[in-house]
């Protein structure tokens, strides 16, 4: 069983409060035990390791945090939250930081994850389901990474892994409305 967490209230700056309000994660509870970074699959390549990122949030370092590459390299593997003795939900915190980073125009220039996410979601909005060929083609066109993995498509065709025609689920207008209302926060 997980031991009871230690409640730490009444501290934290604007960034920690905003993260908490958006994601429910409590960065102020972190004890800097490093369990998260020890198990994180991408910590070894990160500009800020998970425990460092949490500390930066505690210290209200908005610029550094929103511009960090790490928030885009987190694979959302949930290892940190599963092991954290203080139940700091770094995976959820990173989701909130991604949204904030985009809104502030601070996205690390090396990452193409936001483009991928946009392409993915626009296919979901229009068709209801994603098909890999359409996803890869749009992503490559948007990023100009046309030659990367050029050997993969023919092999995937021959293995029957890339159907040419994507599926379509009825109710596109309804889905567009759903996406619009979600963007407005579900208040309309």
């Amino acid at each position: 069983m997980i031991a009871a967490t230690i409640e730490i209230g009444g501290v934290g700056g604007a960034l920690a409060s905003e993260v908490k309000a958006r994601s429910g994660a409590s960065p102020m509870s972190c004890l800097q035990c490093l369990k998260c970074s020890s198990g994180c699959p991408v910590a070894s390549r990160a500009d800020l390791k998970p425990h460092e990122l949490v500390r930066m949030v505690q210290m209200d370092q908005r610029e550094v945090v929103l511009a960090s590459r790490f928030i885009w390299e987190c694979t959302s593997c949930q290892t940190c939250i599963t092991r954290c003795p203080q139940q700091v939900n770094i995976a959820a915190m990173n989701d909130a930081l991604r949204v904030m980073s985009r809104a502030a125009g601070k996205v690390a220039p090396e990452t193409t994850v936001p483009v991928f996410n946009d392409v993915f979601l626009s296919i979901v909005r229009n068709r209801g389901r994603v098909y890999e060929l359409g996803l890869m083609a749009s992503y490559k066109l948007r990023t100009g990474r046309l030659l990367e993995d050029a050997d993969k498509a023919p092999m995937m065709f021959s293995k029957g892994k890339l159907p040419l025609l994507g599926p379509r689920v009825r109710g596109r207008d309804q889905r567009r409305e759903m996406f619009r209302r979600a963007a407005e926060g579900g208040n309309k």
Partner: protein
């Protein structure tokens, strides 16, 4: 017992072999898996990394149409998104109201969601499955790889032990194979970074493949389309980058179970695997 099946987008594309082998195994067990009508994409990492409300609304849209039935899921990424949305919506009345505004239906987060592994091991049970095994996978040493999202976080998925899950191991043992002990059952493969930052996937899958090899595995069994694709389709790239030779076939667990139940390789779409499994299977006397 009946369930409504949520195949998820990958099972109609890169993971059609997972789809076919799931239905083949279900048929052998008399398990009906009609599809949940008009299901839509779970939103995956793209949704929760872009708009958390949308990430709960997309699963709510599909799950609210289940009419009280249990939803069966094969892809562990979909499983994670559907269960996470249920957890959020059932535990937060204000969020439930916002999701209702977005979806246009008040969904209470109560549609039960089960992974195929849970259905096979817990609802159907190993005793019943053992009766359908006609070609035991004797001598096949399988590294069962669960990936991130089945067992984590345990408060949400409530699947199995978060650090050492065994449901797939139990199934493989029932199929007559040897499920080897190894420490990378729940390490991350890099998931959709396969497209955006392949170097992450190459590093992580190298760790997984090399540990499976060191533990004496003949092959790997997976329960996730992204894990399977990363370990199988990128295996040659990994071997080139790190100067290693693994040659480890990467099956869906349903393909191995189906083989043990006597299904043909075409029923299980074994030809879709990139690392050829035929040599290994023939060497163990379970070719076709």
């Amino acid at each position: 017992m009946s369930y409504l099946f949520f195949p998820g987008c990958s099972l109609d594309g890169t993971a059609k072999d997972f789809h076919r082998s799931t239905l083949a195994v279900a048929a052998k067990l008399g398990l009906e898996l009609p599809e949940l009508k008009d299901w839509i994409c779970c939103g995956s990492t793209a949704a929760h990394g872009t708009d958390p409300l949308l990430a709960d609304a997309l699963p709510a849209k599909s799950l609210s149409a289940a009419g009280g039935n249990t939803v069966a899921v094969a892809c562990s990424a979909c499983y994670s998104r559907l269960k996470t949305a249920n957890h959020h919506i059932a535990g937060d009345a204000a969020l439930r109201a916002r999701v209702a505004q977005v979806v246009g239906v008040d969904y209470d987060g109560g549609t039960p969601v089960l992974h195929l592994l849970e259905i096979l091991c817990r609802d159907i049970g190993r005793a019943r499955i053992a009766q359908t095994i006609t070609r035991p996978l004797a001598g096949l040493r399988v590294a069962c790889y669960y990936g991130c999202l089945l067992a984590r976080p345990p408060e949400i998925t409530n699947f199995d032990d978060a650090e050492n899950p065994t449901l797939m191991d139990q199934l493989m043992e029932t199929a007559g194979a040897t499920a080897i002990g190894w420490p990378h059952k729940t390490e991350c493969c890099g998931a959709s970074f396969s497209i955006t930052e392949a170097s992450i996937v190459l590093e992580l899958t190298n760790e997984i493949l090399s540990m499976a090899k060191a533990a004496g595995a003949d092959c790997i069994a997976t329960a996730c389309p992204l894990c399977q694709l990363n370990l199988d389709m990128r295996q040659r790239d990994v071997e080139r980058r790190f100067g290693r030779r693994y040659n480890l076939p990467v099956f869906y667990f349903t393909q191995l179970l189906g083989l043990a139940m006597g299904c043909s390789s075409s029923e299980l779409s074994l030809a879709s695997l990139v690392v050829e499994p035929q040599g290994l299977l023939e060497s163990k006397g379970i070719g076709r």
